[in-house]
């Protein structure tokens, strides 16, 4: 479903060049829940931005459902994002001038299928457990509620891929568990999930785990390790 071949993303900083992502290969099969671990500055979010078509690789190719997205025009890239990819940000990413329900409906403005009705958006809010907050503005929602609305919004165009950038970064432990349970449920319903995090506590949720360091993919962990949960978590807490 997602094939990344030799992707590099370099940024110029004055006369020098920084490789945020350096020659990375990655394969994600349909229905997988891929977790990319790494510390801040390891390049995981930059890789995620390229997977979502929000950044163009300096070199290498990224294929999503067989299409090389690095060669797509801006409009085609936007179309891809609106149809095939749902994005959950580290922060809530909700638009402050519209209600929770309207936030969920915004991506439908960009979809070729047209807008979904209010009932469908409400149903999605119900699925993520915040239907009763539909008419609330983002600034009146708790962090957990905002994240749930953000997830509902990412799902509204029925994407086959859900990309999440540190989705539990600003949440307390209980809310983190609830949100991850929601991701697991979505994955069990067939949605492919690629998530980046610096938090090894999330390892048990994934079916495949990668670790990035200094822009490189340094490890590809066997999914069976995921079952070891706490042990792996303790091991990775001390990794660079």
């Amino acid at each position: 479903m997602i094939v990344v071949n030799g992707v590099t993303k370099a940024f110029s900083t004055g006369s020098s060049e920084v490789r945020a992502v350096d020659n990375v290969d990655l394969r994600v099969q349909q229905g997988e829940f891929v977790l990319i671990l790494g510390r801040s500055g390891s390049g995981k979010s930059t890789l995620l931005g390229m997977l979502a078509g929000l950044l163009r690789p300096t070199t290498g190719t990224i294929r999503i459902k067989g299409r090389d997205i690095s060669t797509l025009s801006d409009d085609k890239m936007a179309e891809l994002r609106s149809q095939d990819i749902g994005f959950v940000f580290q922060f809530s990413g909700l638009i402050s001038t519209v209600t929770a329900l309207e936030n969920v409906m915004i991506p439908t403005l960009f979809s070729a299928d047209g807008a979904v009705n209010r009932a469908k958006a409400l149903e999605l809010l119900g699925q993520v457990g915040v239907a009763e907050r539909a008419d609330a503005y983002p600034q009146t929602l708790s962090s957990g509620e905002m994240k749930r609305v953000s997830i509902a919004r990412a799902l509204v165009n029925r994407p086959s891929i859900l990309i999440a950038d540190e989705p539990t970064g600003d949440l307390d432990v209980d809310t983190e568990s609830e949100i991850m349970a929601l991701f697991r449920q979505l994955n069990s319903e067939g949605i492919t999930i690629v998530m980046v995090t610096h938090n090894p506590d999330l390892i048990p949720c994934a079916t495949k785990i990668y670790r990035m360091s200094h822009g490189r993919m340094v490890e590809n962990l066997d999914s069976t390790l995921c079952l070891k949960g706490p042990k792996i978590r303790d091991e990775y807490k001390d990794q660079p």
Binding site: S45, G49, A52, L54, L55, D74, D75, A78, E79, R81, S82, Q83, F87, F89, Q90, F91, G93, I95, S96, T97, V98, E102, M105, I106, P107, T108, L109, F110, S111, G114, A115, V116, N117, R118, A121, R153, N157, D170
Partner: protein, 407 residues
């Protein structure tokens, strides 16, 4: 795009409306600027349009191509025509015979102007009496033709649109009682403040005034105040005017063009002030609004980047910003135009009196055109002002913006 989908519960326009509703203070400066631009431009056009409309109405009513007056009273005559300020003056009617014989002159009609007394028991009001010769007149004659039930007999008067008194009622001037038999439509010109009577009744009034009025009126025999001239089709008013001035020394001529020039001159100061304000406000507003829009865009760059991450194309973002800007322009322009219209209509008489111009409310078509052009200018300015921030936003990488904006 679903923005055109009528069944959609959330639309592009809803998003625009929400963005405007929930940023009221930020939008006020933009709305105020658009209101000032549109309001001043509309005011300038309204005043010019109203004066021109009034002139057109008045000149049509008079039906004359040239008005011949004594040269020393040319300014007073113009005032009589434009604002109806009463005045009395005469020149020898021997000139009339010369005028009527000139080639190109189709008709000529002598008139006597008499200012009534103000605040005296003998006079109902301070108005301009215009005494006509029913045999030669074509101003009132054409009105009488349009109103076949009305005849102008002894002591009958036809009053201008602004004169008080119902048809059938009486008015007293210099102690002489006149009977109102007709009322002219309002033109906005001086003719609205005039009372038309027959020359012979004016002479009778003058004769009686020594006894009946607090001040005697003298209308010298063989004298007239003005001669109205209608020229042959195809003849030039300017050429015939020159000939009249040559043949009848001591006279001046007023033509529609000269009246239009006079009114334009009287309006010049105020219209240039208004146009000046429009141009200045526009010149200041474009960079100011671009600056505000750029600041807003800077503040909103994360929001815009999120929209792009959710699938919005760059053209969608440009349309969103333009639509918001156009909406502010339309709201501001309408507020400015409506406010200006209320002030102008409310103070219409005061403005006309202060500026010494003829004035009537312009035709609905002119009003729509004036309002439309003021609205259009605002929308164009709004569009220009939003282009720069839209360009800035579209240049940035959305993901970079999202990452930079993280808390």
């Amino acid at each position: 795009m679903s923005e055109m989908n009528p069944t959609a519960d959330f639309s592009f326009f809803r998003l625009v409306a929400r963005n405007l509703q929930n940023r009221p203070y930020r939008n006020m400066a933009m709305i105020l600027s658009f209101a000032i631009i549109a309001g001043t431009l509309f005011s300038a056009q309204y005043l010019m349009g109203g004066a021109q409309q009034s002139l057109e109405n008045g000149l049509n009513r008079m039906g004359a191509d040239i008005m011949v007056v004594p040269s020393q009273y040319a300014a007073s005559s113009q005032t009589v025509l434009l604002t109806g300020e009463p005045t009395t003056f005469f020149f020898s009617d021997s000139g009339f015979e010369q005028i009527i014989r000139l080639p190109g002159v189709a008709k000529a009609s002598p008139e006597i102007f008499v200012a009534t007394l103000f605040g005296q028991s003998c006079c109902s009001a301070a108005v301009q009496i215009i005494a006509i010769d029913p045999e030669r007149d074509f101003t009132i004659a054409s009105w009488l033709k349009e109103n076949p039930g009305v005849t102008m007999g002894k002591d009958d008067i036809i009053v201008g649109g602004a004169i008080e008194g119902a048809i059938g009622s009486d008015l007293r001037f210099y102690g002489h009682t006149f009977h109102i038999v007709g009322r002219l439509a309002t033109t906005g010109m001086g003719i609205d403040m005039a009372v038309f009577t027959r020359i012979e009744d004016a002479y009778t009034m003058a004769e009686e005034s020594g006894v009946k009025a607090v001040q005697k009126l003298t209308i010298p025999q063989g004298m007239v105040s003005a001669v109205l001239v209608r020229i042959d089709p195809g003849a030039s008013p300017e050429v015939i005017s020159d000939e009249i001035k040559q043949k009848v020394p001591g006279t001046k001529t007023l033509t529609p063009n000269s009246l239009v020039s006079a009114v334009s001159g009287q309006l010049a100061a105020i219209t240039w002030l208004l146009y000046g304000v429009t141009i200045t406000v526009t010149a200041v507003s474009i960079p100011l609004m671009a600056c505000i829009a750029a600041m807003v865009a800077h503040e909103r760059r994360k929001e815009i980047a999120i929209l792009q991450a959710l699938g919005a194309t760059k053209s969608f973002i440009v349309r969103l910003m333009l639509a918001e800007s156009f909406s502010l322009a339309i709201i501001g322009a309408l507020a400015g135009i409506i406010t200006a219209a209320i002030i102008l209509v409310g103070f219409q008489d005061f403005i006309a009196l202060t500026l010494k111009i003829p004035f009537t409310i312009p035709s609905p078509l002119t009003l729509v055109a004036d309002g439309g052009s003021a609205l259009l200018l605002s929308v164009v300015i709004g569009g220009i002002a939003s282009l720069y921030p839209a360009y800035l936003i579209n240049r940035s990488e959305p993901y970079e913006t999202i990452r930079k904006g993280e808390p």
